[in-house]
Amino acid sequence: MAKITASVYTSHVPAIGAALDLGKTQEPYWQPVFKGYEYSKQWMKDNKPDVIFLVFNDHATAFSLEMIPTFAIGTASSYQPADEGWGPRPVPVVQGHPDLAAHIAQSVIQQDFDLTIVNKMDVDHGLTVPLSLMCGQPPASDYNWPCPVIPFAVNVVQYPVPSGQRCLNLGKAIRKAIESYDDDLNVQIWGTGGMSHQLQGPRAGLINKTFDNAFLDRMIADPQGQATVPHIDYVREAGSEGIELVMWLIARGAMSDLNGGPAPTVKHRFYHVPASNTAVGHLILENN
């Protein structure tokens, strides 16, 4: 049977992708950001999953205002890195896992979450920056990401976005779905986005270290409590775009301790301000 071995949480700031792609990682501004992921890259090599279930949001790339799915699961065999206006990021094509994705779609819909099923989708920085941070740039000799990825896009662009509680419950449903898949797959679930940031209006540039660190604490020890925090608290405390953090609760809901098992082990925790307009947060939790 397939099982979820670990969850990874990280910001997905587009400027991080640009810094990587333009060779700026050694600049003093960026050095501390990438230093925070050195442990993570080694951990990925030591704990290579068979599949990554990657929760992210599309930033007006694959989804315009023509269609705005709240939850969309990618069931395609591959996904092209998107041209977001600067040309596509120079990273490998993302390979999907259509069998497991279709299995999850069927199971999760039967658990009363109405997923949109997507068979064609370009993936933007929300998905590729976490892969770059965790996996580094694949060598030319083997120009692939380490494993297939199931993209799971959440609407956090047009308000109202799904509540924290709904996200946590969805994570539980995803766990059930994965654990009922016959093949012995080692699956990681990643939650991305955040941390505090606001990209609009005279309040642009808002950062709240106190809120962010309390959020990291609660993601570890009290995710159920964090799930009850209403949207307006994220907006006031963490900025209008800080609302992306609800996506972390989907990954957290899929962990053992929220489904009758033991608490996870914290393998890594990192926080840094700033990356462009944004606070960068990162956690790795392993199931026991």
């Binding site: 400027a15 205002l65 308000y159 005279p202 309040r203 540039g205 950062i207 606070a279």
Partner: protein, 147 residues
């Protein structure tokens, strides 16, 4: 019963809800069109003519022509869509975000390096933080002059 909108009293902030989305539909879809290189070229060659191909209000068109992102947002724009205009102009997210504060690029960048804008005084309209209406513009760039 009317909808609960408990996010209307956050200073310097417009939440992109269904109402804003409806208002900004054509403006945001125009922005999406700039993801194609051919359209970027046509837009750059004659911005006014390109905008006239869209069912946008005159206010929306003027907001785009003057690159006044606060005005674009008031007219229903969303920053992730408006970012396509920035990309067409070769601007980073930081330059775009900063342009809405009245700060120069350097002032905004320095604020971020120093830890960003504090939430204190900026949670609710009527407090005294730097994002409040009575404290605009915040820097030497001043307010954009609208046509």
């Amino acid at each position: 019963m009317s909808l609960e909108k408990n996010y209307l009293d956050v200073p310097g902030t417009t939440i992109f809800d269904a109402e804003q989305s409806r208002k900004g539909y054509h403006l945001n879809q125009f922005c999406m069109s700039l993801m194609k290189a051919d359209n970027r070229l046509r837009f750059k060659a004659n911005e006014r003519a390109y905008l006239d191909e869209w069912s946008m209000t005159e206010e929306q068109k003027q907001a785009v022509l003057t690159r006044d992102l606060n005005r674009c947002i008031a007219a229903g724009g969303n920053i992730y869509f408006l970012a396509k205009i920035g990309a067409t102009d070769g601007k980073s997210f930081q330059q775009m975000a900063g342009s809405m504060t009245g700060m120069t690029e350097e002032e905004y960048r320095n604020m971020m390096i120093s830890g960003g804008r504090s939430a204190d005084g900026n949670r609710v309209v009527g407090e005294d933080g730097d994002a409040q209406a009575h404290r605009q513009p915040q820097g030497k760039a001043g307010n954009k002059v609208s046509n």
